[in-house]
Amino acid sequence: MSRFLGITVLAAVCLVFAGALMITVWQIAGTQAPVDLPGLLADNLEASGVEHPITAVLLNFRSYDTLLEIGVLVIAGIAGISMANTASLEDPELRTSDSLLYALQRWFVPLMLVLAGYLLWAGSDRPGGAFQAGAVLAASGVMMRLGGIPMEFLRPGVLLRLGLALGFSVFLLVAVVSAMAGDAFLAYPDAFTKPLILIIETVLTFSIAMVLLALFVSAPVNGAEEPEEGESG
């Protein structure tokens, strides 16, 4: 009985929340935003060094957001590998002999690598960019891993840590060098804007893929031995 009551109250709360949100959205929709940010963006797109407005926002106008966001990814990666169970890399369960997966892997992985490269390259003037490319790269890594390819570099060692940090450090380095060159933090010098953005995008693609892959791998795989630090609970 009390459980039923609980659900009812909860549903009522959620309904009230959604209703209030709906009304607010409706009321805001009836107004006109006083600041025309898209217009402002279009006016300054020329100076950003890239033709695609979203890439311009992500890697130039609001690059500080992106820097911190990569930081968030790296944190997740660090926290993930801090509880990695290295033994699981050898887990026989991983080596699936699934013929479907094998075929998928054989055909898809090269295709996905090409796709990742294309997305990265497209980013400067068309939809695409570091995040999508990184995600595709990570997905192909996941597929290879599911197919049982051991991928030694994913062991929690110095290589993995280097891979995690590479994109972030290059981005940070560019930021601080531009600050030392006289302008503000992250203000790229005019002449180098486009190459700098391209470099950052390339290393970010790699790093994003590494982090996502590391997080996928570091999950303790079932069937491994009992936890080595002793049981709890």
Binding site: R3, I54, L119, P127, G128, G129, F131, Q132, A135, V136, A138, A139, V142, L212, L215, F216, A219, V221, N222, G223
Partner: protein, 94 residues
């Protein structure tokens, strides 16, 4: 008119899959529904003239999150019998 119909159907499908994610009793089915939801979201982003987000959603939202969750669901469902609590799949009902 057909555009509105398309949008309406897409929104309806989105909400239905969302409910299905939360209501399905079987954890695996919930994850599969979640992946379907991600793909529908990618379509919605296309309709919102945001191809970048559509790409990211398909790759990250549906693809990677889906694989992560599927793997985790397999792990958590693996030895349900051993742990002795067989009710971990009945989240929706209680």
């Amino acid at each position: 008119m057909t555009e509105w119909l398309l949008d309406g159907l897409l929104v309806l499908a989105l909400l239905t899959t969302a409910v299905a994610v939360l209501a399905s009793r079987n954890l695996f089915r919930a994850v599969v529904m979640f992946i379907a939801f991600g793909l529908l979201m990618a379509l919605a982003w296309v309709r919102l003239q945001a191809p970048d987000i559509a790409l990211a959603e398909a790759a990250i939202g549906a693809g990677l999150t889906g694989v992560l969750l599927l793997d985790a669901a397999r792990h958590l469902g693996y030895n349900r019998g051993r742990a002795g609590d067989g009710d971990d799949q009945g989240g929706a009902s209680g």
